[in-house]
């Protein structure tokens, strides 16, 4: 084993979980669970005493609940926090709130955990490791001011370009920022695969809709790709696009997982590339793993524009890195100029080159 182990504090009000989670984590040699806490107060105290590298946090706790605890952690001594909570209707909005407050990532306790124990354990370990490596920056993004003024839906809503985004860990915050920056008359249409389990995406889309001038919704089969619209792929389904005689539409499928993911960014990007050719814009943003890299390659092959988010603005520089390394990213662009770039690329009259100067040319 190289280096010091990753010190993890497990916070959960269930005695069973306080036993189970450490067992799951310590299956990996490089992780050491240094303590457990049953509520927020204990958690804060133990963070002071034990100085963990990563905290796993349950959101439903008596006394000081997860959200308050998270606020305190971020205020006092920021530590990467992975929200590990069981899924519930209310859980979705709370979880998204937690991500908004700076939680590194989240994972839901599976409904039938005994069957997925090994899988969940592996996922949790991966997230803990990613969290331990991340440089926890103080919020890189300026406060987002909700801009709810929406453009009226007009008949002439055929989009200029189809922007396909693949995004994972660190995504919710980055997407919130990006979509709040795009103007209401954005002429392109946006389709998004955010790795997120079932039940979260609807809430997530609603939240994005509140802060973005664009119209954001969770995609349903048959939804029209319209200018100024953002469709978020629902958890546990795949999103594809299809050109139809009367309009272009989104199609959801229940095909098997790709790269271990459903939704998979590869599925979306490939489909957008194949259907829209040079009208396609592929964008890979922050996230673990390499889902979407090959899809970005497809877009590139068919003459679309491919963009990877730059390392300095990623929470986890995994997916963009994979695409850059394989030579699929035509441009590498920082989050703060992404919206300007997309606007320039999609603008009806512009040639799309105006924004290039702000971005960086890809290394290879």
């Amino acid at each position: 084993m190289r280096g010091a182990p990753i010190r993890v504090l497990v916070v959960d009000d269930s005695a069973l979980m306080r036993k189970l989670i450490p067992q799951m984590l310590e299956a990996d040699e490089s992780i050491e669970v240094v303590g457990t806490a049953l509520d927020g107060n204990f958690c804060l105290k133990k963070i002071d005493d034990l100085r963990p590298n990563v905290v796993t946090l349950d959101l439903e706790m008596p006394g000081m609940n997860g959200i308050e605890t998270l606020k305190e952690i971020m205020r006092r001594r920021p530590v990467p926090v992975i929200v590990f909570s069981s899924h519930s209707t209310e859980g979705a909005s709370v979880t998204l709130k937690a991500l908004g407050l700076g939680a590194f990532d989240f994972l839901t306790k599976p409904k039938d955990a005994s069957a997925h124990m090994v899988e969940t354990g592996r996922e949790l370990i991966a997230k803990v490791k990613a969290a331990a490596e991340c440089k926890l920056k103080p919020r890189l993004l300026p406060g987002i001011i909700p801009r709810p003024e929406k453009q009226a839906l007009t008949a002439a809503t055929v989009p200029t370009k189809v922007v396909a985004i693949g995004i994972s860990t660190g995504g919710p915050q980055a997407l919130e920022y990006l979509l709040s920056q795009l103007p209401g008359d954005f002429p392109g249409t946006v389709v998004v695969v955010q790795h997120m389990p079932e039940g979260f995406t609807e809430m997530f889309a609603r939240r994005l809709d509140e802060i973005s001038p664009l119209r954001v919704k969770e995609a349903q089969s048959g939804d029209l790709l319209q200018a100024g619209r953002v469709l978020i792929c629902p958890g546990s389904r795949h999103l594809k696009v299809r050109r139809m005689p009367m309009a272009d539409i989104a199609v959801l499928t229940d095909d098997p997982r790709v790269n271990g993911h459903r939704p998979s960014a590869d599925v979306l990007l490939r489909s957008v590339g194949e259907e829209f050719r040079n009208q396609a814009v592929g964008l890979l943003m922050t996230g673990m793993g390499d889902d979407g890299a090959e899809g970005l390659g497809t877009i590139k092959k068919y003459g679309g524009l491919t963009i990877a988010q730059s390392e300095d603005s990623c929470v986890v520089f995994g997916m963009p890195k994979a695409a850059i390394e394989r030579g699929y990213a035509a441009r590498v662009i920082s989050l703060d100029v992404l919206s300007a770039t997309l606007q320039a690329v999609c603008n009806r009259n512009g040639n799309g080159e105006a924004a290039v100067g702000k971005g960086m040319q890809a290394g290879n």
Binding site: S14, K19, S86, K109, G222, D223, L224
Partner: protein
């Protein structure tokens, strides 16, 4: 059911069985609180949290059914305004019961209990005051097949604008049709001849064979023509064609097709009707309550009780070893009175004895748990029983932090439950009766626990109608338990003791008359096994108190050893008040009772041995009388000689070795001798019960001969050890 096969899974499930009891308790507690302050959102959050954790934990163990049910319950409570629903507390109680049954079923590998009733109520919860929200949800799931996609709506609008009618075609495939998939194709072909098909439900790629097909078709044909075209004999049973949007009706947005929307509304409205029905159902009887296990806290080690018993057993062996050493030492001292080593030995002995004492006490302490663990199940139970009987009862708990041996605590759970039920159901009067007597309408049942010397007292008291001593006296005479002459002489407490007699209290009329005491003989027999005593104090019109006197522990006692007819016996030292010397001449007979006048009081005597021979000289033979207390009463125990005081480690006797309740256990002394420990409450009762019919002396003989067999068995055991 898929369980993780490995050991870890088993461990996990064990942990779940334990921790889940906590959660169920929390559920019950919160529900009780909610009943007191209805609509309190904080409490409802607590209930939801318990359901939430239960859901997560059970999922982790692969208990899918439980997890799903808990999930639904949690979700129902998450709906806005759920807290305001008055049914929440009741449902939480029921949920706690059903969850407990499910957990028991998982644990025992038995059949899952029915959960439909609970599911219905949970569903009704969401349909109650928040019908609006649930309706939109249902619309999505149930009526999914009639929601058109954006593209389909667009196609409808376009068709309409181009001068076509948009029609909805519902086709029912004949039930007897053998090939529904082929039938579907035929119908679809027929529909498409009428014009472009905009939408099909179920969707074209769906694998399931549907008996009902829906199409949206843009057509210039009339509804009748379409219907005729689609009615394929032997395949189609029924066709319904309905106009969705007539051609070129300008700018009618193709939203909300009317017919299906109405259907949805109906669907979501029915559950609110259902709600009222099950809410009145009574909760299941609380006997099925789970045994409550210790509260888990951080830094607490959960240990199997068996392991602690093991340690305690070993400590017991050590104590026997200590007395062996002591005996050896005193022999040594006698043989070598001048030997200087003696004092070294005795110093070491004293030191060892002290440590052993501490060790014993520490181990005993491990077994001690606060009675809180037992008490906390009662609020829920009292509430349920009060409801069943239509009483208004408040339960007041005190002394919850009094510690008691876990074994004893578990053993008294049932008798105590029984007594509390009686107190609520029979002791407390109905509200009208209480107000007639000028009492507050709400009755009070108290549970109290406290230490008293080497005992723990647990009291169950109520402020109800009390018991009528005269009626019990009359009943005892009627049942032939006592002659009317004798009955007249008995004190009130003595009369009250009759309610513990088997057969007495089960008589139904008595229940009505005295209003109390059903099954008290069962209570009594459990208590005997524990060497515990029970007494009752009642004041007509003011209430009744049952007082359990429990030993602190069952394992080790300080005992007084004595001889009867050259056999060695022991009784707990703390039962002995004093030791008196007397002669046979001072023993008097009063109606078959042997009594002794000791200073100012008359003591009933218990004779374990045979009566003295009738010869004159025996009148002067010396006797020892041990004055003992059993319950609240005093007796004299006639013994031949005293042996001494000793700390005894009680070896439990299994029923196969010996079946009498006169002896509560046996012990092996340092020199290997076997001593039987008498169960005083049982001895007293045995003698008292047999007295009126026989002369007490014969029964005493029975005691001795029967214990001999036991002694033989124990002797054999001791020899091996």
């Amino acid at each position: 059911m898929s369980h993780p096969p490995d050991e870890r899974g088993a461990e996990m499930r064990e942990l779940f069985y334990e921790t889940s009891q906590e959660l169920l308790q929390a559920l019950n507690d919160e529900a009780l609180k909610l009943e007191k302050s209805p609509g309190d959102e904080e409490i409802v959050r607590g209930i939801r949290r318990a359901a939430h954790t239960l859901k997560g934990d059970s999922a982790a163990c692969g208990f899918r059914e439980l997890s799903e049910l808990a999930h639904r319950f949690e979700d129902a409570l998450s709906v806005d305004g759920a807290a305001a629903n008055p049914a929440v507390a009741e449902i939480a109680f029921q949920a706690a019961d059903v969850f407990a049954e499910m957990i028991a079923a998982y644990r025992g590998g038995s059949k899952m209990p029915l959960t439909t009733n609970l599911s219905k109520k949970i569903k009704a919860l969401t349909a109650g005051p928040t019908a609006k929200k649930s309706r939109t949800r249902k619309a999505k799931s149930i009526a999914k097949s009639v929601e058109w996609t954006e593209y389909e709506k667009l196609a409808m609008t376009r068709a309409q604008a181009s001068g076509q009618d948009v029609l909805h075609v519902l086709v029912k495939i004949d039930q007897h049709c053998a090939m529904p998939i082929a039938a579907r194709q035929l119908v679809q072909n027929a529909v498409s001849t009428m014009g472009p098909v905009i939408a099909v439900r179920p969707e074209t790629n769906s694998p399931a064979a549907a008996r009902q097909l829906e199409f949206v078709v843009a057509s210039v044909q009339t509804a009748e023509q379409i219907s005729a075209k689609c009615k394929i004999p032997t395949i189609v049973e029924e066709v319904t064609v309905e106009m969705l949007f007539p051609a070129s009706a300008p700018a009618a947005p193709p939203s909300a097709p009317s017919a299906p929307a109405m259907e949805e509304a109906k669907v979501s409205e029915t559950p609110s009707v259902v709600e009222a029905v099950p809410a009145t159902a009574l909760p299941p009887p609380p006997q099925a309550e789970p045994v409550i296990v210790p509260a888990p806290m951080e830094n607490i080690l959960r240990v199997d009780a068996g392991r602690i018993d093991n340690v305690l057993n070993l400590v017991g062996e050590l104590i026997i070893g200590k007395s062996m050493l002591q005996q050896a030492l005193s022999e040594f001292a006698k043989r070598f009175p001048r030997e200087g080593l003696r004092s070294k030995f005795s110093d070491a002995m004293a030191f060892q004895a002290r440590v052993l004492n501490d060790l014993q006490r520490s181990v005993m302490k491990i077994r001690m748990v606060p009675v809180e663990q037992l008490f906390r199940r009662f609020p829920r139970m009292v509430r349920d029983v009060a409801r069943q009987c239509g009483r208004d009862v408040e339960l007041v708990l005190s002394g919850q932090d009094t510690d008691l041996d876990k074994g004893i605590l578990d053993a008294i759970a049932e008798p105590l439950t029984h007594m509390v039920r009686n107190a609520v159901g029979h002791g407390i009067e109905p509200v009208e009766e209480r107000s007639q007597h000028g009492k507050p309408p709400r009755g009070t049942v108290r549970l109290n626990a406290y230490h008293q010397g080497n005992h723990v007292i647990v009291e169950v008291s109520d402020d109800g109608r009390g018991m009528d001593v005269q009626k019990i006296r009359a009943k005892a005479i009627e049942l032939g338990l006592v002659s009317s002459e004798e009955a007249g002489r008995l004190s009130d407490p003595e009369v009250m003791d009759f309610i513990f007699r088997p057969g007495f209290s089960t008589a139904e009329q008595v229940t009505e008359v005295s209003g109390r005491g059903v099954g008290m003989d069962v209570v009594q027999s459990v208590l005997h096994r524990l060497k515990a005593t029970i007494s009752v104090e009642t004041h007509p019109g003011r209430g009744t108190t049952f007082r359990l006197k429990l030993p602190l522990t069952l394992a080790i006692i300080k005992a007084l050893l004595f001889w009867v007819e050259r056999r060695l016996y022991a009784i707990p030292l703390n039962a002995v008040l004093e030791i008196a010397r007397t002669t046979e001449a001072e023993v008097h007979q009063v109606d078959n009772y042997e009594v002794l006048q000791l200073r100012n009081q008359v003591l009933p005597l218990l004779r374990l041995g045979r009566p003295p021979a009738a010869e004159a000289d025996s009148a002067h033979s010396k006797l020892f009388v041990l004055v003992i207390t059993v319950g609240e009463r005093k007796y004299g125990l006639i013994v031949d000689a005293l042996d001494g005081e000793e700390e005894l480690v009680i070896k439990a006797l299994d029923d196969q070795t010996f079946s009498t309740d006169l002896v509560s256990g046996a012990s092996i002394l340092g020199d290997g001798r076997v001593v039987l420990i008498l169960n005083l409450p049982a001895v007293v009762e045995h003698v008292a019960r047999s007295r009126p019919q026989t002369s007490g002396n014969v029964s005493s003989g029975l005691l001795l001969s029967s214990t001999d067999r036991l002694r033989l068995a124990m002797g054999a055991q001791g020899g091996q050890a």
